[in-house]
């Protein structure tokens, strides 16, 4: 049976993991490769690496890092951050990334999604959507790391990028991100039911039950978290045993 995926997300700045990661058994938790290997050993199903650097020079460092990650880990991983052209993606896939995630660039230039899907196949094109709810607007899509509201309603935008060839949606609720109060079940469910491709729930995980809810209530195919895992508030083996006991298919 196809299992639900648990995905730790690592933010990368200038080749190093950020957010003061706390680990006991890792030589250098700031080293993304060490951390990635550790997560793979813990039973993470996939990893996401987000490049949060700004300059082109630092992006080159990121491509080298992607190569180093691919050399050392034996599970799939997605890379994102600052991708705006087919050439950027070519470099990352050739370095050994399995998927790329694009966000603002897809909003600026939806044609990019179609170009990437045609060139590399839908299976490696994840569109990341940052969404925020207000009573006045409903769930809207935000660009530029969540700083700019767009005209897109979230479900419509998800449908649009799927039509263009996206193979996966990574949906982050800005209302929930960092709250540890649970994933945004309503919009995750709405997107998951509206599209035919897998949906990754992101933002708000605080407990094991939140993951179960993302899968059972919101019908997400995967769930992503960052600090919850990085700060060891929740271990992946414990989480998977819990989900299994809840009757959810997981790889253990």
């Amino acid at each position: 049976m196809l299992t639900k995926r648990i995905i730790p997300c690592l933010d990368i700045k200038n080749g190093r993991t950020v957010k003061g990661v706390r680990f006991e058994n890792i030589r250098d938790a700031g080293d993304p490769v060490e951390l990635a290997k550790w997560y793979a050993g813990q039973g993470a199903d996939e990893l996401v690496f987000l490049d949060i650097t700004a300059t082109n020079e630092e992006r080159k460092t990121f491509a080298e890092l992607v190569r180093d990650i691919a050399r050392h880990i034996d599970i799939p991983f997605t890379v994102g951050g600052g991708i705006s052209a087919v050439a950027d993606v070519e470099v990352l896939l050739q370095a050994g990334a399995d998927k790329v995630s694009i966000n603002s660039a897809a909003i600026r230039n939806p044609q990019l999604v179609e170009d990437l899907a045609k060139r590399f196949g839908s299976q490696c094109v994840t569109v990341a959507i940052d969404t925020k709810y207000t009573d006045a607007t409903g769930w809207k899509v935000y660009a530029r790391a969540g700083t700019v509201e767009t005209e897109h309603a979230t479900v419509d935008w998800a449908r649009q990028v799927i039509d263009l060839g996206a193979g996966e949606i990574l949906l982050t609720s800005m209302n929930n991100d960092g709250t540890k109060a649970g994933f945004a079940l309503d919009i995750t469910k709405a997107v998951s039911e509206a599209v035919s491709v897998p949906v990754v729930a992101s933002g708000g995980a605080g407990t094991m039950q939140h993951f179960a809810d993302a899968f059972q209530v919101a019908h997400a195919d995967a769930a992503l978290a960052a600090s919850l895992f990085h700060f060891r508030e929740l271990s992946i083996p414990d989480l998977k045993q819990f989900l299994k006991a809840e009757g959810i298919a997981v790889r253990v």
Partner: protein, 193 residues
């Protein structure tokens, strides 16, 4: 051992190379006719879209060479589908080595079939040391139905060919290079066939 990975600009060649490197095995990347022909074993990876991959193979004359190979050969993911006769993806005529069709998933489940799913009914030395129900990583929208050449199956929701063997041609729909310890074991098994 002279191991060659067919490099025809279709995807995850680097990942396969790294997976072999983790096993301590050096491989040569090549799209050269003579180099591939002289190999002891050949690995044929692939991701992406069927008709463009076939176009890449034809432009290098590999559509003529690959069917004539007699050494152990391992097609992975799209590399498995390309060995078949015809794909519904882009209505593409494939290499025609294994007399089987490639079909699109018609299901209410999500497509692509993406993530870790279980290998069942393992009937080949390729799966030596692999337990029934072991997980492998998949990402694909097209599949090969069960057949006389199926050596492992996976269900989504109906069973399909997770792996095939036809003469010296072995193939896996999943990605052994991304399937953790089990995937490494399968690659290792291929190398000792």
């Amino acid at each position: 051992m002279n191991l060659v990975i067919v490099d025809y600009k279709a995807g995850n060649v680097q990942s396969v190379l790294f997976a072999l490197e983790r096993l301590g095995v050096q491989a040569t990347l090549s799209c050269d006719f003579e180099t591939i022909k002289a190999a002891d074993k050949v690995i044929f990876p692939g991701v992406g879209e069927a008709s463009s991959a076939m176009a890449q193979l034809r432009s290098r004359n590999l559509d003529k060479l690959l069917p004539t190979l007699e050494q152990p050969f391992f097609g992975v993911c799209l590399g498995m589908q390309l060995l078949c006769e015809h794909s519904e993806e882009g209505d593409t005529e494939m290499l025609g080595i294994i007399p089987l069709p490639v079909k699109r998933f018609e299901t209410d489940l999500k497509v692509p079939h993406m993530g870790w799913n279980q290998l069942e009914k393992l009937t080949s030395p390729l799966f030596e040391g692999i337990a029934e129900g072991e997980y492998a990583y998949y990402v694909h929208s097209y599949y090969v139905p069960l057949s006389a050449y199926t050596i492992a199956q996976t269900s989504y929701p109906e069973p399909f060919s997770a792996a095939l063997q036809y003469k010296n041609f072995y193939a896996a729909q999943f990605h052994p290079e991304k399937s953790s310890a089990a995937g490494s074991q399968i690659l290792k098994n291929f190398l000792t066939l």
